[in-house]
């Protein structure tokens, strides 16, 4: 296939991936790597490189919209970025060392797990009432608007949240994804933060986390310009379109349909990896 045709097809595929990623809140990375590897037979290392670049673009591009809502917590984000950036370095090093087959199997399993979480109704964790001295010392607290008043919140189980964030960073660096779902899990389930605060702070962290592994990808030759160009522009355009279309959270049935697609991709990734095709 000629480069021009290939570029146009990749751009259109990435546009769809970015659009779906924005609609479902899963991000483009989750769909783009299976698309590149399964449909185009591209080596998974090039695929995760191109995907990671598009993750940085969508996260940074969406930041303005999230800040306007006033939910994201800059201190909680920065504190947890210590965990995610170290995790991302570890993940990127793993990506340069592990056989592609193993990376593909882990990717498939990550797809299956994220399908499970995306099909579930988001459960609001009960905000913690008991004082947490470590969280207080680290200033991991804040308030968010509810109607006319401000509701106060404070993190709890900080070491657990920090640990889960390290894991989220590692997955991000290893698989070239934003791992937003796992970041949200660390904040709302482990640390008991309000769901809105968790999702917006997570978006805010994704770009920084991804930048920590992007440097390693660059110096190891994972970032191919011919591939990253249509993927980055496509996913960015698609996610901007998706954000415009999305006025409310996707319906339960749409989430179920999307979860089934993700499950199918996950099984396909694992199956192909086992057969030695990835």
């Amino acid at each position: 296939m000629h480069v021009t045709v290939f570029t146009v097809i990749l751009f259109l595929g990435s546009l769809c991936a970015g659009f779906l990623g924005a609609l479902t809140g899963l991000g483009g990375g989750v769909v783009i790597v299976p698309l590149l590897t399964l449909a185009f037979g591209i080596d998974i290392r090039y695929a995760i490189g191109a995907s990671l670049v598009s993750v940085i673009a969508t996260s940074s591009g969406a930041a303005a919209a999230y800040v306007r809502e006033g939910y994201s917590n800059i201190r909680i984000g920065m504190f947890l970025e210590i965990a995610t950036t170290f995790g991302a370095l570890a993940g990127a090093y793993l990506a340069t060392q592990l056989p592609t087959k193993i990376i593909a199997i882990i990717f498939g399993m990550a797809l299956l797990v994220s399908a499970y979480f995306s099909s579930r109704e988001p459960a609001e964790a009960s905000p913690s009432e008991k004082p947490d001295s470590l969280a207080h010392w680290l200033k991991l607290e804040g308030s968010y608007p509810v109607g006319d008043s401000e509701r106060l919140y404070r993190a709890r189980r900080v070491p657990l949240g920090f640990g889960v964030m390290f894991g989220a960073g590692t997955l991000s660096g290893l698989l070239g994804i934003g791992s937003g779902a796992m970041k949200v899990l660390a904040m709302d389930q482990a640390m008991g933060l309000p769901f809105k605060v968790s999702t917006t702070t997570s978006n805010f962290m994704i770009g920084v986390t991804a930048a920590a592994s992007a440097g390693i990808y660059l110096s190891r030759g994972f970032l191919d310009p011919g591939l990253a160009m249509p993927v980055m522009l496509g996913v960015l355009g698609g996610s901007m379109l998706g954000a415009k279309v999305l006025v409310r959270a996707p319906s339960h049935s749409l989430r179920i349909v999307f979860a089934m697609v993700i499950v199918a991709l996950g099984i396909e990734m694992i199956f192909n990896a086992m057969k030695g095709r990835l």
Binding site: A64, R68, G215, F222
Partner: protein
């Protein structure tokens, strides 16, 4: 007095500007790339890794200024990676202005990890 909200708003604008600039450079390089190599056969089945001149930031910069299409795209990608890094650097200043030295140190740690990675890890 600067509020956290104002700081976040300027940070968000910085991020958006960085992404737009990166996208324009990538698009420009991409058009040149297709004009030069559009008829070449595309093959990404085997991983060869990028050549040395597309790996080190200094060499990418040099290549881009001599008009090499792939290096221009790579420069756009580099600008994109620099965008969140600039965000973190900006946060160091914002926390210092608030005299929150604990967060200045934490943010410097994050910045150090990012620069370590960017400079070749």
């Amino acid at each position: 007095m600067i509020t956290d909200r104002q700081v976040e708003t300027s940070i968000a604008l910085l991020l958006r500007a960085g992404v737009l600039l990166a996208a324009v450079v990538v698009l420009f390089g991409g058009i040149l790339y297709l004009a030069h190599e559009g008829n070449v056969h595309a093959d990404y089945r085997l991983f060869h890794g990028e050549p040395e001149n597309l790996r080190a930031p200094s060499l990418v910069l040099r290549g881009a200024f001599t008009g090499t299409p792939k290096a221009i795209i790579e420069l756009g990608l580099l600008l994109l990676i620099l965008t969140p890094i600039a965000r973190v650097a900006f946060s160091v200043i914002a926390f210092a202005a608030e005299r929150d030295y604990m967060y200045v140190i934490m943010t410097l740690v994050v910045l150090a990890v990012l620069l370590y990675s960017l400079l070749g890890g």
